[in-house]
């Protein structure tokens, strides 16, 4: 670049347990270009200034869901956040809230990975059909019933945005419930009863107080908050129905 470049200050959360027991902020003065994202600035730091900086990223186009971080206090995908929108800076970059930090900006997402299979996010059939029975067709309306919830990329921004998850880590959480709904609302699925055990038990949907922040930060408009509230309606009607039918406990 021939002309003088603009620079922006990054205040980056550093946690290096092998050298320092407590995290600290490190400041980098980064030259940036007009169309740079926050992730580009981090890559610049890693390539040109300090190769020891640790963070996750992959696709740079909002699909893989790995580059979620807290930028100026908001959980965002750093590959989809323009530096221009955060000027004049400094831009503070922290790891996602609610997850234990392994190093720098890398959190441990193992808790979510353990919770996800508990809601059985796969199609459950009462009985498997033979292959030669052909495809199970769905109308556009039937696909429309769950399509929104299938857009989740597991980026964990909704967990980072959720104060309940942060304080009550046993809460099964927004994305897991939205994914459960993705299958509950699928016309090919018969597993709603199996999922209900996890969802309407302690630390299922009832921990949620509809802060709504998960839906605000979701980069894919999944609306997990809406999914949870709708599930509360379903679970409540189910419970009242079970009162009317003796023999089945709620």
């Amino acid at each position: 670049m021939e002309n003088a470049v603009d620079t922006v200050t990054l205040k980056v959360f550093r946690y290096r347990p092998e050298t320092a027991p407590e995290p600290e902020y490190e400041t980098f003065e980064v030259p940036y270009q007009e169309d740079w994202m926050v992730l580009d600035a981090l890559n610049h730091v890693k390539d040109e200034m300090d190769g020891s900086l640790s963070y996750r990223w992959s696709c740079r186009m909002g699909v893989c869901g790995s580059c979620g971080m807290t930028v100026n206090g908001e959980p965002v995908l750093t590959c989809a956040t323009y530096i221009e929108d955060l000027l004049p800076g400094p831009i503070r970059i922290d790891p996602l809230r609610g997850f234990p930090v392994i190093r720098d900006l890398v959190g441990d997402l193992g808790d979510f990975m353990a919770k996800l299979p508990r809601v059985k996010p796969w199609i459950i059939r009462k009985e498997e059909e033979p292959l030669d029975a052909g495809e199970t067709l769905q109308t556009p309306e039937e696909v429309g019933a769950f399509r929104q919830y299938s857009m989740c990329i597991n980026c964990m921004l909704c967990y980072a945005a959720c104060p309940i998850y942060e304080m009550e880590p046993d809460f099964i959480g927004p994305a897991a419930i939205a994914l459960a709904q993705r299958y509950n609302l699928d016309s090919r699925d018969h597993g709603a009863d199996e999922r209900m055990d996890v969802l309407s038990r302690k630390h299922g949907v009832w921990d949620c107080t509809f802060v709504g922040e998960c839906s605000v930060v979701c980069p894919k408009d999944v609306d997990p908050a809406g999914a949870i509230q709708r599930y509360k309606v379903t679970a409540t009607m189910d419970w009242f129905r079970s009162l009317l039918r003796p023999g089945r406990s709620g």
């Binding site: 104060p163 309940i164 304080m167 009550e168 309407s200 009832w206 107080t209 509360k232 679970a235 409540t236 189910d238 419970w239 009242f240 709620g250």
Partner: protein, 118 residues
Amino acid sequence: MALKPPREPLVWALFSAGGMVAALVLPALAGILWIAAPLGLLGPLDHEGLRLLAVHPVVRIGMGLLLPLFFFHWAHRFRHTLHDGLQLYHLSRFIALVTYGVALGLSLGALWILWSLG
């Protein structure tokens, strides 16, 4: 402990129903009864007309339905406000018992008062 907080679907249903009716009727009631009327914006008050309205069976039955819903709406929401807002996770069960207990007591009191009116 013998006492157990009520089932979540039940209290959530009461909370939701209470929140909905509170949203729909309370601003109008509060605005007229406790702001416009005392300020004299509606002219002189007719005590007997208002009393007949208040003791009318429809109003009494309506109040008997609405007031408990309002109380349980408060109980459920305030329980979570205390519990999450102040991070009192160790008092979880105690808070639930107290808030729903207060709502139950107030509801029974309200029903008794409505029954003995007139």
